[in-house]
């Protein structure tokens, strides 16, 4: 399925804004994304398997908190970076 990558992480995808990745859950998709673009997951997800602050994941237009949320073929996943501070 298609995954939107924020600009701050496009150094991992060679500048590509939308990439392909697969997984039956958001968590699985993020692991698959890391297999395709090594290192990208740890910048978004810490070693306790929690999304880092300011990283937002949307499935279609739904904001996701639970990384175990299931995915279906055709879902569009968008990763966004909430910026704050200077």
């Amino acid at each position: 399925m298609k995954v939107g990558i924020p600009s701050v992480l496009q150094s991992y995808t060679a500048g590509t804004r939308v990439v392909e990745a697969d997984g039956s859950t958001v968590a699985a998709l993020l692991f698959d994304l890391d297999a395709r673009y090594p290192g990208i997951r740890f910048r978004m997800v810490n070693e306790a398997d929690a999304l880092r602050p300011h990283v937002r994941v949307f499935v279609n237009r739904e904001a996701i908190i639970d990384l175990d949320r299931g995915l279906s073929p055709g879902d569009e996943v968008t990763i966004l970076q909430a910026l704050s501070g200077g």
């Binding site: 701050v8 992480l9 150094s11 060679a14 500048g15 090594p38 290192g39 740890f42 910048r43 978004m44 997800v45 810490n46 070693e47 306790a48 929690a50 880092r52 602050p53 300011h54 990283v55 970076q81 909430a82 910026l83 704050s84 501070g85």
Partner: protein, 403 residues
Amino acid sequence: MSEQPVPPGTRAFEPLSQSDRRDAVALEGLTLLVGTKKGAFFLTASPERDRFALVGPVFLGHIVHHAVVDPRDRRTLLVALRSGHLGPTVFRSTDCGRSWQESARPPAFSKPKDARRSTTVEQVFWLTPGHASELGVWYAGTSPEGLFRSEDGGNTWQPVSGWNDHPKWMQWTGDMKERNPDGSPIHSILIDPRDAKHMYFGTGSAGVFETIDQGASWNLLNTGMLSPTGPDPHPEYGYDPHCMTLHPLAPDLLYQQNHCGIYRMRRPEARWLRIGDNMPRDVGDIGFAIGLHPRDPNTAWVFPMDGTDVWPRTCPGGRPAVYRTRDGGESWTRLDRGFPERAWYTVLRQSMAVDTEKNIGVYLGTTNGEVWGSIDEGEGWRCLAAHLPHIYSVEVANFADAQ
């Protein structure tokens, strides 16, 4: 500084692939590695050190706490960074900055059996190349207080479980709400040049730790220091050694600039002596950084800051000066020639560096983005770069010749 001519032998921005171009530099010779809140910058010295050319930035927009070259090959450069909103990591170059690779396994705590007690690395704060006999070994100190070891030149990092999983870790590292604004890191990871298994480090929450078994077990080394918190001025732990260093030619001699003064310890004694008591009373001995002369164990430099009232931690009286001792801290000399008459600089713990040239160079970086240098052991100072971002660290590198 960018309009200054580039010294011979310095080339910036060789053409590389699009994805690498923004971070490609070609560093040669004596270079200052400057870690800032917005990226890493480099100041490459001319042979006489009369000019310093600004190279970079690399990793623009990332918070760079430390950039360190490996003295064992003088080519490998590790940079500890994170962005304001992404996780912490380490980038490494094995060709003097021409190309960079991210660590395949950045420092990260092991998952505890009880997930509620999980601890996560917020930033990689400190990098130390390993012992000369252990090629490829590096140590990293993180915030919160994690210690990590790499055996492959910084590509993969493993937790040092003797520290990270120590039964007293929670006790020693203290209350999260009391952590420093930039986190509470492990810093000043020091390795005894005579023994790879003998190490020290400092934390801002507990104090100084020592291991003689390469991190399997740790002992506190706090006797003699003054604690900044609590009713007991001399508890077992609860000290804040801002920056500690040992002399490479006299590894039994330790110095530290503490939150509460300047100290010295001569091993095998295990007691800190407050040599900052010999500083002028109206200046005090508060600060963050300390640098040692590479060939004279009795010579050190500090940059005092105001520790009165609400502890501004700027130059006392707004009058910047370095203080130098030639006698192991028994006396101190004020060195302010070249600094502005009035300035309110803050110099953080990683922001003083000393080179090994015939006439020793001393360098410091300020949180308002200025790099200052002296090439006569601190007698006279000049501004080498200004208008940089908030400076976290300054290190000296002497890169191998290009091949």
